[in-house]
């Protein structure tokens, strides 16, 4: 599904991601962990297209991605949930989610302006899909509220719903559980597990190592922009380098500053 090879990206001479090689199989749930500033979000941006690599290749379903714009990648099935709450202010929650369907729907300015036949049907399909996505994350009660007025945790869940509304093949989740209460976190874990069971390929960044190891098939550990370990959650838990670089003594602890 995704094949990242020898990818590097630096900011002002400092490598944020360095020679990262990563291969994710169809239907795999890959966990990505690493301390603050390890380059996890940068890696996601290189896959979603918001950053260009300095070198290396990114292949998605066999084709090179580097020159493809982010909206093309979205159309081709790559969805991302950003680390911060990147929501559309001044739009309701359900409208936010509906934007997520943009990539795989067609009606443009002309069809909209002239209300061509088909635009109504497509619009209804988008709305239904958006409601489903809101149901999946448990936000239907907030549907008609302005997205901005939602608590931060709900804004993050809104991003998950928006990504799901795009019916992605590859879903990038950048710390989706941060800012959620315990019960919401559990609901999210259940949703991720359900999507995984449904065959969706996912990359999951989380600081909460327990959250990742519980869900992921395999885990990649980044430190200072480089991959320092990769393997099943059990293997990672035993890896000396990981323990010294990241996990420390109390494995599962949150090392956030």
């Amino acid at each position: 599904m995704l094949d990242v090879r020898q990818v590097s990206r630096s900011f002002g001479g400092v490598f944020a991601v360095r020679d990262v090689t990563l291969s994710v199989a169809d239907g795999e749930l890959r966990g990505i962990i690493g301390p603050n500033g390890a380059g996890k979000s940068t890696l996601f941006n290189l896959v979603s297209g918001h950053l260009q690599p300095d070198g290396g290749t990114v292949r998605y379903r066999g084709a090179r991605l580097e020159r493809r714009s982010p909206h093309r990648r979205a159309r081709d099935g790559i969805a991302i949930v950003f680390q911060g709450a990147r929501i559309f202010r001044r739009m309701t929650a359900v409208e936010n989610v509906m934007v997520g369907a943009h990539g795989h729907t067609r009606c443009g300015f002309v069809a909209g302006a002239l209300r061509l036949p088909g635009q109504h049907r497509e619009e209804r399909a988008i709305r239904d899909r958006a409601w489903e996505a809101l149901e999946q994350v448990g936000l239907t009660a907030w549907a008609h509220r302005e997205a901005e007025s939602l608590p931060l945790g709900q804004q993050r869940q809104l991003q998950v719903a928006r990504a799901l509304c795009g019916e992605p093949r590859l879903l990038l989740l950048d710390e989706p559980a941060s800012g959620l209460r315990a019960a919401e976190r559990e609901a999210l874990a259940a949703l991720v597990a359900e999507l995984h069971a449904g065959g969706l390929t996912m990359l999951l960044i989380e600081h909460d190592v327990g959250f990742v190891t519980r869900l992921a098939d395999r885990v990649t550990v980044l430190d200072l922009g480089e991959v320092i370990a990769e393997g099943t959650p059990e293997e990672i838990g035993r890896d000396e380098r990981v323990i010294t670089a990241y996990l420390g003594d109390g494995a599962g602890g949150d090392r956030r500053a």
């Binding site: 714009s69 979205a74 909209g112 009660a141 008609h144 919401e184």
Partner: protein
């Protein structure tokens, strides 16, 4: 349909009907104001699309008004069918906007504002130099609009033409905004990155909305040219671009009808003050000072006291007055609104 929307619908309908009947009773000079108000409203609807919905600034919208006017005027002067001129006015304005937009719409905020302003200044000076466009003296003797031998000769018929064109512009704006494309525009206004990663081709959408707003201005310019029969670079000063922005802000950015309200309020106020300024006993500069003062004062007052603009504020009053007699707005789908099973799920009222 819930009560506030119903009220809006009825009010909008009443305004439309009143505006349609008004030319029957208005005097000649009042009809002129009517036409100018309508054309200003058309341009302002475009400004509102651009600024209020898509979050992009233009301080050069009068340039596209001018392009529409010159397109229609030039075609008319050269004996081409005037209807073709009226159709080409928005097309040429939209096309030119799409071209200059390729570099300009990459800019943001102040830079975009200055670039659009600069575009207008450059355009005006180029037009002033071009012999074919009549130079600084302008294009004169633009024929009246007509189909075959039937001509729109009286002011009343231009008022109705303006009404129809304004209605068309409002309808298109509303349709676009409430469609998938409009959602993309509103999305990119607050987060280009999230819009892009949701599949919205942000650069192309910005160009499209810029071109659409220019087309609205171009259509207004075409009507203006045929109505007055004479245009010159001086008819499209930079102040006019500011005026459109002020109208959009005063009426309420990010609304469909706000621009009409803003255009009406400002046009009428400026006219009233103009006639006050030309009363006997007033100094000769009074009327121009008045009109500048109106823009400035209205803009400041709106931003201070009604930051969302006249129309949204009024709508809010109506909504509040109706509350209590109306169950909370039901969803547009009868979904069981059951929050996730824990205490945090239910939205605060």
């Amino acid at each position: 349909m819930n009560a506030p929307r119903m009220v809006g619908f009825v009010l909008g309908g009443l305004v439309a009907v009143a505006a349609l009947l008004a030319p029957l009773v208005l005097s000649g000079s009042q009809l002129t104001i009517y036409v100018l108000l309508g054309t200003a409203a058309m341009v302002t609807v475009g400004v509102s699309l651009l600024m209020g919905y898509a979050g992009q600034v233009s301080l050069g919208q009068a340039a596209f008004y001018a392009i529409g006017g010159y397109t229609a005027g030039l075609m008319g002067v050269h004996g081409l069918p005037t209807v073709a001129g009226l159709v080409c006015a928005p097309l040429v304005a939209g096309l030119l906007a799409a071209l200059v937009g390729i570099p300009i719409m990459r800019l943001r905020g102040h830079y975009l504002a200055f670039a659009t302003l600069a575009f207008q200044l450059i355009l005006l000076s180029v037009v002033g130099q071009l012999e074919v466009l009549g130079g600084d003296i302008g294009l004169q003797g633009i024929p009246r609009l007509g189909i075959g031998s039937a001509q729109l000769s009286n002011t009343q018929s231009y008022a109705w033409l303006t009404w129809a064109a304004t209605a068309l512009v409002l309808l298109i704006a509303r349709n676009v905004i409430t469609s998938r494309a409009g959602r993309g525009l509103r999305a990119l206004a607050t987060s280009e990155i999230a819009a892009e990663s949701s599949g919205v081709p942000v650069a192309r959408y910005k160009l499209a909305v810029f071109a659409l707003s220019a087309a609205f201005a171009g259509l207004a310019g075409g009507i203006y040219a045929f109505f007055l029969g004479y245009i010159a670079p001086g008819s499209f000063p930079v102040l006019l671009s500011f005026e459109f922005v002020v109208m959009a802000v005063v009426g309420g950015l990010g609304t469909i009808w706000g621009p009409v309200v803003g255009a009406a309020v400002i046009t009428v106020l400026v006219q009233v003050l103009n006639s006050l300024g030309t009363e006997p006993g007033m100094p000769p500069y009074a009327s121009s000072v008045f009109s500048y003062a109106v823009y400035a004062l209205l803009l400041v007052l709106t931003l201070l006291f009604l930051p969302r603009g006249l129309l949204p504020t009024a709508t809010e009053w109506v909504r509040r007055a109706l509350r209590g007699r109306e169950p909370p707005a039901a969803g547009d789908r009868p979904a069981a609104a059951v929050p996730t099973g824990d205490a945090s799920g239910s939205p605060a009222r």
